[in-house]
Symmetry: C2
Subunit: 211 residues, 2 copies
């Protein structure tokens, strides 16, 4: 499979983790979100991904999949082992709700295109933008801590989609100097993940396009 | 089942549509997002929904589910008929990508709490906030039009999760006077949906808490 990725993209990072956890062979295609006015806006990439966002995944059969959430569900359906969702429907809903809290309630509001709009169209200072970024993380982390289950991972003895979303989000939180000291369940899950080779291989610093 | 809902909440509207399409009996519990400083912030509701957002669904067994995305997947898994996702994995991924474009790339950026932050913390005018709201819809609608498949619905002869997300989003787009004239596939799918009793019953104006 070919993954269109950018080392620091949180959404691409999620998909890299899942590919590694499931032991799927993949090759990267690099999309630099800052160079050349954003390589995601080039016609070749926009033809693959109408929203001009990374990641996009091209399957071995040539199908083009976009949106990390949809890609992760497709990976789970087509490569079910190891499972990243529990078997019980209510537990699956809890894992998905945790993931959606990151995917919907934190990540989009701090995305590059949104921060740029605040700066260019609304004339906000970098300090105000950093405060905005931290605000949405600060609001959501207590909820995620309350939602997390028994450890060591977010929900039990093995990583799930909750962990796949959590680790990239905490990576971003640290980049913006958020206070993570009061979230023991989240930090415990993150530590359990970081001990796994799959999470290490998927990390931004381990990517060939890392700067 | 009991659905915590607000008539104008786009996320609650999605879940109402799915409940109606699947013929599931449900009772509403009303959470007024504007009254009393926002009833979603009351301790009783925050105990159900740590993010203090609607909707939340309480199942007949008493499980509390949050996040419309997770609730919709749970409904699909536990009440599979009529199906709101195709059987083929790639087609499922396409429907989910369409839904996620709305759930992640449009809706959270125009949510009440975000608009309030722009006004109160960033001092933006109502005109600037309305322009912001329309901007994220204007960016995404051409992508959704390009992603949509053969009709009459977004993907084929019956509604899927793509339609469940589209109809509430277009309802919001009209509230903010977005130009919808250039999206024939989206408007065709919306018209097909609006002809169905399930979509009519789920509409904001049909709710007991409508104003």
């Amino acid at each position: 499979m070919r993954l269109y990725t950018y080392f620091r993209s949180s959404a691409a990072y999620r998909v890299r983790i899942a590919l590694e956890l499931k032991g799927i062979a993949w090759e990267p295609a690099f999309v630099h979100l800052l160079r050349e006015g954003g390589q995601q806006h080039k016609p070749d990439y926009a033809a693959l991904s109408p929203m001009r966002l990374v990641p996009a995944l091209v399957t071995d059969e040539g199908a083009v999949l976009t949106q990390s959430l949809a890609i992760l569900e497709w990976l789970e359906e087509t490569h079910p082992t190891p499972a990243l969702l529990p078997a019980d429907p209510v537990q699956r809903a809890q894992v998905r709700a945790f993931a959606a809290t990151i995917a919907c309630d934190i990540h989009p509001i701090g995305n590059l295109r949104v921060l740029r709009y605040l700066k260019r169209e609304m004339g906000q200072s970098q300090e105000a933008i950093d405060t905005w970024y931290r605000h949405w993380i600060d609001v959501a982390l207590p909820a995620l801590e309350a939602m997390a289950g028994e450890g060591p991972f977010c929900y039990g003895l093995a990583p799930t989609l909750a962990d796949v979303y959590l680790v990239p989000q905490l990576f971003n939180a640290r980049r913006y100097n958020c206070d993570l000291g009061t979230f023991p369940r989240l930090l415990r899950a993150e530590a359990a993940c970081q001990a796994l080779p799959a999470f290490q291989a998927a990390a931004p610093a381990a990517q060939p396009d890392a700067e």
